[in-house]
């Protein structure tokens, strides 16, 4: 091999006499850098296309326009290469660094542009055009450098082969490894780093053509350090960027020991997100919370009883408590919510405190920041409630799933008056039909009589609840006047289930099997 190369070198040397010789052995290494920069180029194109599809939707349009702009810009770059007359190697290193910066930072810049500015598309196409132009310059310059070393036919064959192979390599690596493992931001930064390292490496490979390389290498190291810092900090940035993607302005955010709490505000309403998933929108939360709270009260009143003592499990936003306090007979409300950061926000954050009408500061309300399972287990057996409102997040993990088990419902029943009622948030009977009916079956196994009901909450879709009591009961007929959504008629209609949400047989969710967590994640996978 080295013999062939030496021959090729001699041949090339015979063609170009005036130019200083690059030691022939380094030509294969320069070919390797063709492979690397070809991969980088394709990765930037894929990153931009994917990101635009993510953020703007319509992936066919986004990929087509990104590829179109990118390829035409490469054409422009190739054409511009004819104006680069001298100092080819020097220019080549500089171009590597420019690609490294522009390509490497493309994903974070685009995320920020989407979140912070109105000009995402102009930024997108400018960036794609810029990267394309620079990438278009790379190969012609490198070919001209190598022309002095390698016979033209070998040069074209070698460079184009590696260019296309690099593209194949990148196009397989991107969906199979990079996206799932690194994510968009890290992928673009890592490939920026590869470009910058090729630049640094070229100062060695092209040393005979470069003269003094000290300054060039310092520049390379600065770019490398910048991008490496970016890779290290990418985790924090992704979080930041993803928050920026919440559609509205963030008015409160906090990472507590248990979850990430974000409150956003815009277009006349505000929304609460826990770990990125929507908990309520102020535009329609009244539908949800009226439905969660009042049927239980109505059922108790149908028995001629008044609720004095009420238990709330979850519901740290205070909105269920707001509805509870509309019932004048209520003397005591015990709210059990795991996260003190949540109940504190519900007390102190002005938007939320106003929405829950300062419910948590009411003298009748007592807040316990504990795991509800532990709290109910520790509670004095004599402490019993007339009404229990159970409003946990959906059973997406074992630690929440345990709060949907026969064990939890038995504990709940032990702390409920024999004539009392419990109402349980039970996920969507449409999107997660089997999960919904699993909750009802589990409550029945724990000794409750259960009547499930549902309504539409536009922010969530069709939503379901389970009304339960230790004793059999009829669908409640009369609720409070002056509610925003519920009337006597609408309340009764909630207990009817259309055919596509009607009961399906289900296993019982127990502490030692937690079937609901598996069921729930399978069902919701279809919708996300």
């Amino acid at each position: 091999m080295s013999d062939d190369m030496r021959e090729a070198g001699l041949e090339a040397g015979a063609v170009a006499e005036a130019v200083p010789q690059v030691p022939a052995l380094q030509a294969p290494l320069l070919f390797l850098s063709v492979l690397l920069i070809a991969s980088c180029g394709l990765i930037y194109e894929l990153v931009a296309g994917t990101l635009a599809s993510y953020l703007l939707g319509d992936s066919v349009l986004q990929f087509s326009t990104v590829i179109g702009v990118y390829l035409s810009a490469m054409g422009l770059g190739s054409w511009l290469s004819r104006y680069v007359q001298k100092g080819l190697a020097h220019r080549f290193v500089h171009i590597e660094l420019a690609v490294a910066l522009l390509g490497g930072l493309s994903a974070p810049v685009l995320f920020l542009a989407f979140a912070k500015t109105q000009a995402f598309r102009p930024v997108l196409y400018t960036l794609v055009g810029g990267i394309g132009t620079l990438v278009g310059l790379e190969i012609p310059l490198l070919m001209r450098i190598l022309r002095q070393q390698v016979a033209f036919k070998d040069l074209v064959a070698g460079v184009l082969t590696l260019d296309y192979i690099g593209a194949l390599f990148a196009s397989l690596l991107f969906p199979l490894f990079l996206m799932p493992r690194l994510g968009l931001v890290r992928t673009s930064l890592v490939f920026g780093l590869v470009n910058a390292l090729v630049g640094l490496w070229s100062t060695k490979l092209l040393r005979p053509l470069l003269g003094g390389v000290f300054l060039l290498r310092v520049k390379c190291l600065v770019v490398i350090a910048l991008l490496a810092a970016g890779v290290a900090g990418a985790g924090r940035f992704t979080l930041l960027a993803e928050e920026e993607i919440f559609q509205d302005e963030i008015v409160f955010s906090k990472t507590s020991a248990y979850q990430r709490i974000v409150l956003t505000h815009g277009r006349g309403s505000f929304q609460l997100f826990l770990n990125g998933s929507l908990q309520f929108s102020s535009a329609d939360e009244y539908r949800y919370h009226e439905a969660l709270v009042h049927p239980a009260f109505a059922a108790l009143e149908a028995k001629g009883l008044k609720a004095k003592r009420v238990l709330v499990c979850g519901g740290g936003d205070g909105l269920a408590v707001r509805e509870i306090l509309k019932h004048p007979g209520v003397q005591e409300v015990v709210l059990v919510d795991l996260d003190p950061a949540m109940t504190e926000m519900a007390t102190k954050q002005p938007l939320l405190a106003e929405l829950n009408r300062h419910a948590l500061q009411d003298g009748r309300v007592k807040v316990l920041n504990m795991d509800a399972m532990v709290a109910l287990g520790d509670m004095a057996p004599s402490l019993r409630f007339d009404i229990a409102i159970v409003d946990f997040p959906d059973p997406h993990s074992y630690s929440v799933g345990k709060l949907y088990t026969t064990r939890f419902y038995r504990l709940l029943k032990e702390h409920l008056n024999p004539e009392g009622f419990a109402s349980v948030q039970s996920t969507s009977p449409l999107m997660a039909r089997r999960s919904f009916w699993c909750i009802a079956a589990t409550m029945e196994a724990a000794g409750f009589a259960v009547r499930p009901y549902n309504l539409a909450v536009p922010s969530f879709g069709v939503w379901g609840f389970s009304l339960a009591s230790p004793a059999p009961f009829a669908v409640p007929a009369r609720t409070l006047p002056d509610l925003r959504h519920l009337t006597d008629e609408t309340m009764q209609s909630m207990f009817a289930f259309p055919k596509d949400m009607d009961r399906v047989p289900s296993e019982v969710n127990r502490l030692d099997n937690q079937v609901l967590v598996h069921l729930y994640s399978t069902e919701w996978k279809r919708w996300s």
């Binding site: 795991d371 532990v374 502490l511 030692d512 099997n513 937690q514 967590v517």
Partner: protein
């Protein structure tokens, strides 16, 4: 010039690196200590002349050892209304290897930490469960049902391999078709053996093992290693080997090569539940019995059984010797650790519920009675550590389970003591188990005993770092127990050997009760031997007692 800069830079890097290393070596960023057992005292009993007692407190029965066997014997005696006994325990706390600890985060085990839900074939354990309020229902003719909150809650176990956690103990990720086929074939063998009955209708593997068939075909399983048995049946799957080796280490502190096939299969076959009893041919096998666990492990049972010997338990009492001045009279000499004085008891019967290697030293006549075999008992050493965590470590893959196993580790991984307390956030206690399964137990024991706290803590941290790189900063405290003789080892030929048979026989009014006598260190075996010894004693003292076994 640049070369020099590079050299300087790398020299600087090397220097900071070595500083960091030295700092790490000097101390770990958390506290902790070595907890008993009281080895100095134990060895003093063996090696020194402790004073003999000159006065003797009269008592009908002396029980030596307040582990599960001794406490069960006391529980049985008390259950008969028989109160004239004392229990002597070397340690400051009762429980033996089932003892528990407690701190501001919660309770945790120092050894045994679960019991499979009892079958109605084991009425003694059902009775104990009933008494502790653990049963939801116990109807005649049906299997008892344990209350949900005492069963190990999901997720029960997970395994760390290929850089992340996976659900379950048998690693399905990356298993070949052949692995899966062999896995299924192994359980077919297990089902076959579990539904096997001898001419008298006895099972091959039953709990307690006193109910097992002594059929020669089944006994022959005890004369080969588990590995030999597997190879004879053409099992070659490395994954299967791993799982079975893990269960040998977990239950017996030994390996596929040092465990008898009978004992290895016992683990899988004895806990199978039959749906249709009495009809061996049509027997349909259900899953293994569910596991019952508490944050404090089997310390829960220690506490309950301890109530039976209230006022009669003397902790910190090292028995030095048992003598027989005349026929029918036994003198028990003990050393009170607190007062540093000799204490004597004059008893009609003694239940020796300590490990057999101790019996050797305190009962001089034992050698004469049993010339062969006492040296046949070998015990696996174990290290158990309790890690009190400020917060739970970050981790990829399947979430924290009750039992958390590292595939590429000599340890058994850790059990989350806080799991059964329903706590899923914040501080936690991890109980970490590390057996020494080598054939040469003496060398392993010497190695373990030579380790100070720091060496033990470093071993634990280095091992857990494979799965939790940030574990060090989560640990607030790490305490270590070094068990020199954690459990008897069922090496080939032992479980059905002469030594074991002989050791169960009483000698001059001394009755024996310990898991050593089963060759299997399980709660059910300890309880069964305690009950057997207590019932032997009751009968010999003239009580007409119906058996609880």
């Amino acid at each position: 010039m640049k070369r020099r800069a590079f050299l300087e830079a790398s020299a600087a890097a090397a220097a900071t690196g070595s500083v960091a290393c030295r700092r790490r070596r000097r101390g770990l960023p958390f506290d902790g200590e070595l907890i008993g057992p009281n080895m100095e005292l134990g060895h003093a009993m063996r090696d020194l002349q402790l004073p003999s007692a000159s006065t003797f407190e009269p008592v009908d029965v002396v029980i030596i050892g307040a582990g599960i066997a001794g406490l069960s014997a006391a529980w049985r005696l008390a259950g008969q209304g028989f109160k004239n006994f004392v229990v002597l325990e070397l340690e400051e706390v009762a429980g033996g290897t089932a003892r528990a600890g407690r701190n501001h985060v919660g309770a945790f085990p120092w050894g045994a930490h679960y019991i499979p839900a009892p079958s109605r074939d084991n009425p003694a354990l059902v009775r104990l469960f009933q008494e502790c309020g653990l049963l939801e229902s116990n109807l005649p003719g049906a299997e008892p049902v344990v209350k949900e909150q005492f069963l190990v809650r999901a997720p029960e176990e997970r395994i760390f391999a290929y850089g992340q956690w996976w659900e379950g103990l048998y690693l399905r990720a990356g298993a070949s078709v052949d692995d899966e086929v062999q896995h299924a074939r192994f359980f077919e063998e297990v089902n076959r053996l579990a539904s096997w009955r001898d001419a008298r209708g006895r099972r091959a593997f039953a709990i307690p093992r006193a109910k097992c068939s002594d059929d020669p075909e089944m006994q022959s399983l005890d004369r080969q290693t588990f590995m030999e048995w597997l190879q004879r049946r053409k099992f070659t799957s490395q994954r299967l080997y791993w799982m079975l080796d893990y269960s040998c280490r977990d239950d017996y502190g030994s390996t596929l090569e040092t465990t008898s096939a009978w004992a290895g299969l016992f683990y899988y076959c004895a806990r199978k539940q039959l749906r249709k009893d009495g009809d061996a041919k049509a027997a349909l096998l259900e899953d293994s019995h569910p596991l019952v666990a508490w944050p404090e492990g089997n310390g829960f049972m220690v506490e309950h059984l301890g109530k039976a010997c209230e006022g009669r338990l003397r902790t910190g009492h090292a028995v030095t010797t048992i003598r027989r001045p005349t026929e029918g009279v036994l003198h028990v000499h003990a050393f009170d650790v607190k007062t540093k004085a000799a204490v004597g008891f004059q008893a009609r019967k003694v239940i020796f519920a300590g490990p057999l290697h101790v019996a050797n030293h305190v009962i001089p006549s034992l050698w004469e009675a049993r010339p062969e075999g006492l040296n046949d008992f070998i015990h696996s050493p174990w290290l158990v550590a309790n890690l009190t965590l400020r917060q739970r470590p970050d981790e990829p893959g399947f979430p924290l389970a009750w039992d958390n196993v590292l595939r590429d580790s000599p340890s058994l991984g850790y059990v989350v003591a806080s799991h059964q307390a329903m706590k899923d956030h914040g501080p936690a206690v991890f109980t970490y188990y590390y057996p020494f399964p080598d054939a040469d137990v003496r060398a392993s024991r010497a190695q373990l005993m030579a380790m100070d706290w720091k060496a033990c803590a470093q071993l634990v941290v280095d091992d857990l770092k494979k799965a939790h790189p940030d574990i060090e900063r989560c640990i607030a405290r790490l305490d270590v127990m070094r068990w020199g003789h954690a459990m008897v080892r069922p090496k080939p030929g032992f479980c059905w050997g002469v030594a074991l048979q002989q050791a169960r026989e009483p000698v001059h009014g001394i009755h024996f009760a310990h898991t050593d006598l089963s060759g299997l260190a399980l709660f059910e075996e300890a309880q069964d031997h305690g009950l057997r010894a207590a019932e032997e004693v009751l009968a010999s003292l003239g009580y007409a007692a119906a058996s609880w076994r």
